[in-house]
Amino acid sequence: MSFLIDSSIMVTSQVLFFGFGWLFFMRKLFKDYEVRQYVVQVIFSVTFAFSCTMFELIIFEILGVLNSSSRYFHWKLNLCVILLILVFMVPFYIGYFVVSNIRLLHRQKLLFACVLWLTFMYFFWKLGDPFPILSPKHGILSIEQLISRVGVIGVTLMALLSGFGAVNCPYTYMSYFLRNVTDADILALERRLLQTMDMIVSKKKSLDCAGLLDLSLIQQEVDALEELSRQLFLETADLHATKERIEYSKTFQGKYFNFMGYFFSIYCVWKIFMATINIVFDRVGKTDPVTRGIEITVNYLGIQFDVRL
């Protein structure tokens, strides 16, 4: 009986997450584009729903909600479905849509999609070789194999993303990196852009009544001017963007992000320093400052909480 109640709770939350993923896709990701293949939207929402459910199950595990055996069942079910999606469906569909866009291979889309998927599986399997995953307890085609590989790829991607974010965030928000742009600069550049466009127009007009000899010469000049106009356009857009950033940095939010930029830059430098020392002196790293800070705060508040989980 409790199993049924627990299952209905899980299914309800899954449906909610699915709906949320669907809406997010429609409203944010594809706001200005048209969805031609609804398969993409469905797969996105399903992946999102199952990932959120896994997270939810971990929270339930910590808090001790729901029956232990039903939790275990749902956990296994979730894991199987997510692995199925991640390893089989998503790579296959990515390969299928890539192949559909290449005109040469249009005839046998399915065949080439399968070939691409098999290549992906080969490299995916090869990934596990340097790691001590294969043990005599588990067979070769077990869940542990797949999970460990997915885990390795996932952690690497997250490390790359946070590294990128750590460098990009200060660069975007700190006012140290902002050039000074005045309205006069922008006006001057816009005037140059319009002048270049006018020159292009007059040269194209003279193309009509030019002799055969001058034709290629004028064509070359037009090409050069068009390239110049593209560069001027990009520079003007860049200046506008810088001006917006300057205005944003004067607001309260901008100042807050500026301060955070300085704080995180110093923190990142310290982390790199500590990591280098740990590697050089072959020490095992202890808990980092953030975990230590949470530990102290939580002990002060008197909550029973295992921080290392």
Binding site: E190, M197, K204, E226, L234, T236
Partner: protein
């Protein structure tokens, strides 16, 4: 040749609907072989004999300004695009018949081109909603062109064409589908 009057016509629409191909077809009388993304604005000219055959015949140079980009671009790109929108004589709105969103975005394109603030490095002032009243006193003629008609199967053509007829009526514009 510069003594002839200039007529400036803007060609607007979403990315990939076929504006550059259209302009190339009109001005060079041949199909564009390798279309690539338009960065900024590309201009082409076409000679047109106004009122041909009558005593008031006059030859004009029509400049077709093909502005690239999408309607959801960053504000900096929109402000830069606004530089091309002054002293217009006409607007051609291009949309893709196989893509409904491109037809819906035409409203936002027309608002962007016609509603711009007068300030030089202007902040664009739009409220996002389409209101036919705003275009009641619009002097600039509009033309709506739907592209890629050949990619729609015969059975669906009628409903697509009725939908575009409503669109053209909203803008109080003529329409051509090719």
């Amino acid at each position: 040749m510069a003594a002839l009057d200039r007529v400036k016509v803007l060609v607007l629409g979403d990315s990939g609907v076929g504006k550059s191909s259209l302009v190339h077809l009109l001005c060079q009388n041949q199909v564009l072989g390798n279309p690539s993304w338009t960065v900024g604005c590309s201009v082409d000219v076409r000679i047109h004999d106004y009122k041909e055959g009558t005593p008031e015949e006059k030859t004009y140079y029509i400049e077709l300004w093909d502005v690239g980009g999408s309607v959801g671009s960053a504000t900096s790109v929109k402000s830069t695009r606004a530089v091309f929108y002054n002293s217009l004589n006409g607007i051609i709105l291009v949309h893709d018949l196989t893509n409904k969103k491109s037809s819906q975005n035409l409203y936002r394109w027309s608002l962007e081109a016609l509603n711009r603030d007068v300030a030089p490095t202007g902040v664009l002032v739009t409220n996002g909603d389409y209101d036919r009243e705003q275009f009641a006193d619009n002097q600039i003629p509009l033309l709506v062109i739907g592209t890629k008609l050949d990619q729609i199967p015969e059975t669906k053509r009628n409903e697509v064409l009725t939908r575009t007829a409503f669109l053209a009526e909203d803008f109080n514009a003529e329409e051509i589908n090719l």
